[in-house]
């Protein structure tokens, strides 16, 4: 009996000692990442490759204050309810320091609300919905990617320069499409007070019947077309429109269509001369982007897409946050994140204190076809800081913390 007790004591002591050593050496900082990997592989594969690259770089450089960074990523299958359950698990069982991820706006919003209710830090990576930082904004949620309204504002500014007055809009019939059209209308009428919107088309998302849509737009005889459709709907819209000559002699302004995720599948049929937001990949020649581009090519053997940059910037933002914060409790993290400056491949950006939106921008340019592939030309980087609402507007839109 005595021997048994002695042995137990030994084991216990050894265990305690080992844990202590391990903890001293490097207890990882755990980050929970939730995304719709199985539902939207075309977008989230590049995204994951982006954050894996950044994670590797952070840990190779010694981690965060000597502690390695660890990402626990989970697939929500595209269901908001699942995402909330996973968020619960990550917080209560995996003991993550903070949450990040999400692509679809509805899942982003579900987790935004979860963060508010449970007082958990959440960095929304990809969702575009304005509500994440405005209507449903809260103390615990930040957002990285430029929002629908920011990108619509970038396009409206360029659209105003073309002199087109009569506009038709084509947007998928759900929250994102409606928000984009409303934002574009608002921004454009600010710049061109006599702009007219003569036709609105609301095809069902992912089920566009492009023929009738194109015909209806044509019948209205607009000077300009504002397009919000994306993915397969965009491809069909472009093909039917090209076939019928709908885009000839018209200004076309199109949200996100310059992102390689959307432009590449169109190949040689990519539209020419559309004004778009997107990402000109290899053409961006700032030193910080070149370093990222080369490292990405080396690790994955393919060019990064927009999702890759977003994924990379998520880790860049979180590493900056964790390096700067003195403590990792949620309240300190939130306070540190406000006004945090981040250096990234897309340039320096700041997380705005007033609405928690990052000032990461987007590239604005025109589409063209080179060597049988769609590319962006005449582009410039539109800094997100230049397309923000006034502080009074933010106050009016965003509930107080």
């Amino acid at each position: 009996m005595k021997i048994l007790k002695y042995m137990a004591g030994c084991v216990l002591a050894a265990g305690v000692a080992l844990t202590a050593i391990a903890a001293q050496a490097a207890e990882p900082i755990r980050i929970g990442e939730i995304n719709s990997y199985s539902r939207l592989p075309a977008f989230l594969d590049p995204y994951k490759k982006g954050w894996e690259l950044a994670l590797e770089e952070v840990n190779a450089a010694g981690g965060i204050k000597g502690r390695p960074l660890e990402i626990i990523d989970r697939d929500d299958g595209g269901k908001p309810g699942n995402a909330v359950t996973i968020a619960e698990e990550m917080v209560s069982k995996e003991k993550v320091t903070l949450l990040t991820g999400t692509f679809l706006s509805n899942i982003g919003l579900a987790v935004t609300d979860f963060a508010k209710q449970n007082k958990v830090f959440f960095l929304a990576a990809e969702p575009l919905a304005d509500a994440i930082v405005w209507k449903s904004g809260n103390r615990y949620t930040f957002r990285l990617r430029p929002s629908t309204t920011m990108q619509a504002a970038m396009l409206a500014k360029e659209a105003a320069k073309t002199g087109a007055k009569k506009w038709a809009t084509v947007a998928p019939n759900y929250a994102y499409g409606k928000e984009a059209v409303a934002a574009f209308k608002k921004e454009l009428t600010k710049l061109v007070p006599d702009a007219e919107f003569v036709e609105e088309q609301w095809p069902t998302v992912f089920k566009i019947d492009a023929g009738p849509v194109v015909r209806a737009v044509e019948a209205a005889k607009p000077d300009g077309i504002f397009n919000v459709t994306f993915g397969g709907d965009l491809a069909q819209f472009v093909r039917e429109g090209n076939l019928r000559g709908t885009f000839e002699n018209r200004t076309v302004v199109s949200l996100l269509s310059g992102e390689p995720e959307y432009l590449e599948p169109l190949k040689g049929e990519a539209p020419k001369g559309w004004i778009v937001t997107g990402y000109p990949q290899g053409a961006v020649d700032t030193p910080e982007h070149k370093a990222f581009f080369d490292a990405y090519m080396k690790k994955w053997g393919e060019a990064p897409k927009l999702g890759s940059i977003v994924g990379y910037n998520v880790i860049a933002s979180l590493a900056a946050l964790l390096n700067k914060a003195d403590a990792y409790d949620t309240e300190t993290l939130v306070d540190t994140m406000k006004g945090l400056e981040v250096m990234s491949p897309s340039g320096k950006f700041v997380f705005r204190a007033q609405d928690h939106q990052s000032t990461m921008g987007a590239w604005v340019g025109k589409t063209d076809v080179k060597d049988g592939a769609g590319v962006m030309v005449d582009w410039f980087y539109a800094d997100g800081a230049d397309y923000q609402p006034s502080d009074e507007d933010v106050k009016a839109m965003r509930p107080a913390d």
């Binding site: 075309a42 699942n82 706006s105 509805n106 919003l109 449903s136 023929g211 076939l243």
Partner: protein, 619 residues
């Protein structure tokens, strides 16, 4: 005028595309009575295969059409494989089993296609020789559209010849009318079914392959076409190919002119038309009333109150659930809350399915209505959680009252399809009525009252409401109401003849089931804090069916066991890559290997071991 004519032609070309897919589905259903969810997957596969083949032989007209035909053939062979390996084993099972099995195939195919063809959208080349436009009354019409417009009637004609002028066609038509009689006359049914599957899958593959020059090919094609194809098949009359043609024309033109008149309600429109048609002509435009099978299939054993052993197991389980929060971690409590909610949801479906013999393919409608009902109270009436949880069953019951009145007039698979249409109406309304429901962005900030805020308190609330609901339904099953329902299920004519208004009883059962599903939805929305249209969509309805099936349709404890196993399984395997394929394979395996479900399997063992009475011997 020329504009409307051009719009009409566009509608025709969509109609042709739709018809190709729908006629294969209708053919398969007519002969084999399989509601084939995987038909959309075959369509998607056809598109992917054709796209890949066209890449190899670019440019030439022969190469393009060769690729289209080869793709259709490859898909047909895959269809035959699915039929021989999976469906052949479950033809005698109720429709539900086949539907769920084909949904397993859908999940498998999604991951298989992702693995083989990659996740990126693919955009095929235009059809060589048909890449321009023709001016008709001055309006540009794509040449390829004209080809499609011609192809619809051609396929219809070929199908008519096949069915009316060949021996095979005569057998197929005979089997559509009365398959037992055909079997009794010595026709090899097994072979006949396989050929029907070959042709049906061929048409699905062809439909997909022909879309390569028109649409971008992506991984969401399968479920987006299948809902529309079901609408066409049901409107046309299940099993009727000319009916499918007329219905495809109707839906194609409805979409073409719908975007001009009512662009905000395009999704709802098709389902409303389907519901209207079914109310006026319950078997579709050209469909015939379902012929009753001669053998009623397996006769179910009468339900008996639980044995002492079963009661003590249930008691132990309940005691375990009560003390659980003291022993387990916080996440286990969250997961257990989920299980309770889904157990009630599955039990409510089981209530009408098992007792009433009414299969609902759209039970998520009432789950969703309950959840939205609760959310509305919080959002628009400024009410409390308690009030909202009262509104949830009321809203769901109101929905079931309306939909149920139409649904109980039909039976079997027609009824199931009408419930599906009802669910799609709820889903598309939630999706498109943005001012009320927030559309896709949903309603947020629906959290429990202060006292129920902690996970443990909320768990106990869920335990009381969901556990209470399950026990209440169990009580009803052993009440005269329950016996009447089972009487109607086993023999409607006799039940009616002793003066029971069966339809009223079924309607009441439908409302009860909807109400309890609504409670589940209400409890769910407060546990997640938000509600989105997905909760009323097809996958949620299939979840309920899978849970019931997993537990065992003919076992009272089935849905509870099924919900528990399903939810925990989903939580575990969604951590893996390609988890949808794994889930699909598990679903198929259960349907094929253990159709009596987990609880049914345990019961069988218990009877064998002598713990439970064997009904057949005792009666």
């Amino acid at each position: 005028m020329s504009f409307y004519f051009a719009q009409f032609l566009t509608g025709l070309s969509s109609a042709s595309s739709l018809f190709l897919v729908a006629c294969g589905l209708s053919l398969i259903f007519g002969v084999t009575r399989v509601v084939n969810f995987a038909h959309g997957s075959f369509y998607m596969l056809g598109a992917y295969v054709a796209y890949s083949l066209v890449q190899v032989v670019p440019g030439s007209i022969l190469g393009f059409w060769g690729s289209v035909l080869a793709a259709a053939l490859i898909v047909a062979l895959v269809g035959v494989l699915v039929e021989m390996l999976i469906l052949k084993r479950i033809y005698n099972a109720p429709e539900l089993y086949q539907l769920v099995a084909t949904f397993g195939v859908v999940l498998l195919m999604q991951d298989a296609i992702l693995l083989i063809f990659g996740g990126e959208d693919q955009f095929g080349p235009r059809a060589p020789g048909l890449d321009g436009v023709v001016r008709i009354f001055g309006e540009p019409i794509p040449e390829y559209d004209l080809l499609l417009i011609a192809l619809g009637p051609i396929v219809l004609g070929v199908m008519w010849l096949l069915l009316n002028r060949t021996r095979w066609g005569i057998l197929v038509r005979a089997a559509t009318l009365d398959r037992e009689m055909v079997a009794a006359l010595g026709v090899n049914q097994s072979w006949l079914f396989t050929t029907v599957f070959f042709l049906g899958s061929f048409l699905a593959g062809l439909g997909g392959a022909l879309q390569v020059p028109r649409v971008s090919i992506n991984l969401l094609m399968d479920l987006s076409i299948i809902a529309e194809a079901f609408v066409v098949v049901v409107i046309g009359g299940m099993g009727s190919i000319p009916g499918a043609f007329i219905a495809a024309l109707l839906i194609g033109e409805l979409n073409a002119f719908g975007v001009l008149v009512l662009p905000q309600a395009t999704i709802v429109l098709a389902f409303v038309v389907m519901a209207v048609v079914l109310v006026i002509r319950p078997y579709g435009l050209l469909g015939k009333a379902e012929t009753l099978a001669h053998s009623a299939g397996q006769v179910e054993l009468p339900i008996r109150p639980a044995s002492t052993l079963a009661k003590s197991v249930a008691g132990l389980l309940l005691a375990g659930l009560v003390v659980m929060p003291f022993l387990a971690g916080e996440f286990a409590i969250v997961l257990a809350t989920d299980v309770l909610i889904f157990a009630l949801f599955a039990a409510s479906l089981h209530f009408i399915m098992s007792n009433g013999g009414m299969v609902s393919f759209g039970h998520a409608a009432y789950f969703g209505l309950g959840a939205y009902g609760a959310a509305f109270v919080i959002k628009y009436a400024g009410g409390s959680m308690e009030l909202a949880l009262l509104a949830a069953p009321l809203m769901a019951a109101a929905g079931a009252l309306v939909f149920g009145w139409f649904c109980v007039r039909l039976s079997g698979v027609y009824m199931a399809m009408l419930t599906l249409a009802a669910a799609q109406i709820v889903w598309s309304t939630a999706f498109q009525w943005q001012d009320l429901t927030g559309g896709d962005d949903g309603l947020l900030g629906i959290w429990p009252s202060e006292w129920a805020k902690s996970k443990t308190a909320y768990y106990y609330l869920a335990l009381v409401l969901c556990g209470g609901g399950i026990l209440a339904m169990r009580r009803m099953i052993f009440s005269p109401f329950g016996y009447t329902l089972r009487g109607g299920r086993d023999n409607p004519n006799r039940t009616e003849s002793i003066g029971i208004n069966l339809r009223h009883h079924q309607w009441a059962a439908f409302i009860v089931a909807g109400m309890f599903a609504g409670i589940a939805g209400g409890v769910y929305v407060f546990s997640k804090g938000s509600i989105f249209p997905d909760e009323a969509a097809i996958p949620r309805s299939v979840d309920a069916l899978v849970m019931v099936l997993l537990g065992g349709v003919q076992t009272l404890s089935g849905p509870v066991v099924g919900a528990g196993v399903f939810r925990l399984l989903e939580d575990e395997i969604s951590r893996l890559d390609y988890w949808r394929a794994i889930l699909g394979a598990i679903i198929i395996a259960i349907v094929v290997i253990a159709p009596e479900g987990i609880a049914g399997f345990i019961k069988k063992i218990a009877i064998k071991a002598g713990f439970e009475r064997n009904e057949e011997q005792s009666s």
